[in-house]
Amino acid sequence: MEVEAAKLIGAGLATIPLAGAGVGLGLIFGNFLTGAFRNPSASAANQPTMLLGFALTEFTGLLGFTISILILLEIF
């Protein structure tokens, strides 16, 4: 296989983590909403924790994106 083609396929494959990040973000916000509707008075206090979980989950997707960009721009 040509190196150029392999690089493009690799860059595409490196975006797969986005699927996991999407599922994870949905779980975080969905579960937060479930909890928040059950006990609305506790929702404000837990918002920072939710955003922390959001940030950490999003990072896995962004890592895949960064690797994809690194391959595409041939920084290595």
């Binding site: 920072p48 940030a55 990072f59 962004l62 890592l63 994106f65 960064t66 960009i69």
Partner: protein, 263 residues
């Protein structure tokens, strides 16, 4: 250089020199990145100068905005770090405001036809800038952690109340988690701004090529145009959220350093 050339989505991140300067063999030219950092810093200073110049008990509109921002970050620091977080408030406040303003100023559209030096530039879309910010945070965490707790700061990696055998597994995990903090802080902010601005310009590029195609296709150009508007709205949300996340993670790490000996 043709200033009207169709800019690709990556062109916006190009760093160009505006004033050539060098000290010895070190290149310290004023680039568009440095210019926009100065603009952000200048805007923040000007805003707070105006807001606090004639401070009154009944605040005017500018002063209320400054007070809302102050109280927002003040609550954040107090809730996350506790009473000893007071001394970190100036740092977190500066960090939050600077990232927020840098992100928001990156959303200003560039007037068409301007030379590349005058294009709007998002400073936070470069890893060098965000990595410098995150390394500053981690340096403060490490220095303050050892200054406050002494050698007990290392208890951060070996929390008490765990069966001794677990330490074989726990210490490496905690160590890797601590070492990945500066990287994850930097990459999160950088990748969010970078990816967001690429998507924005990609949608804008679709509009241009569809309208340029003529016929039925130019009507179809309306779809990516609506998409571009939606992405712009999302980017404003991301600009705020990433500044907030950076600030809150800084607070959590500082809190770890302040309370390392307790757990």
């Amino acid at each position: 250089m043709n200033t009207f050339r169709a800019a690709g989505p990556m062109d916006q991140f190009e760093i160009v020199r505006i004033v050539d300067l060098s000290v010895g063999s070190i290149d310290v030219s004023l680039t568009n990145s440095a210019l926009w950092m100065l603009i952000c810093t200048g805007a923040i200073i000007a805003f707070f100068f105006t807001a606090t110049r004639r401070a009154a008990i009944i605040p005017n509109r500018v002063q209320s905005t400054a007070e809302v921002l102050y109280e927002f970050v003040s609550d954040l620091v107090r809730d996350t770090i506790g009473p000893e977080g007071r001394k970190f408030f100036p740092y977190v406040f500066t960090l939050f405001l600077w990232i927020l303003i840098a992100n928001l100023f990156g959303m200003i559209p560039t007037l068409p036809g301007l030379p590349h030096e005058a294009h709007t530039f998002t400073t936070t879309s470069h890893l060098a800038v965000t990595l410098a910010l995150s390394m500053l945070t981690i340096t403060i965490v490490i220095v303050y952690g050892f200054w406050k707790n002494g050698i007990k700061f290392l208890k951060l990696f070996a929390p008490s109340g765990v069966p001794p055998a677990m330490y074989i597994l726990l210490v490496p995990i905690e160590l890797v988690s601590f070492l990945s903090r500066p990287l994850s802080l930097a990459i999160r902010l950088f990748a969010n701004m970078f990816a967001g601005h690429i998507i924005l310009k990609l949608f804008a590029g679709f509009v241009v090529s569809l309208v340029g195609a003529g016929g039925v296709l130019s009507v179809m150009g309306l779809l990516p145009f609506i998409g571009a508007i939606a992405v712009t709205a999302l980017e404003f949300l991301v600009a705020f959220l990433q500044a907030y996340v950076f600030a809150i993670l800084t607070c959590i790490y500082l809190s770890d350093a302040a309370h390392a000996a307790d757990h």
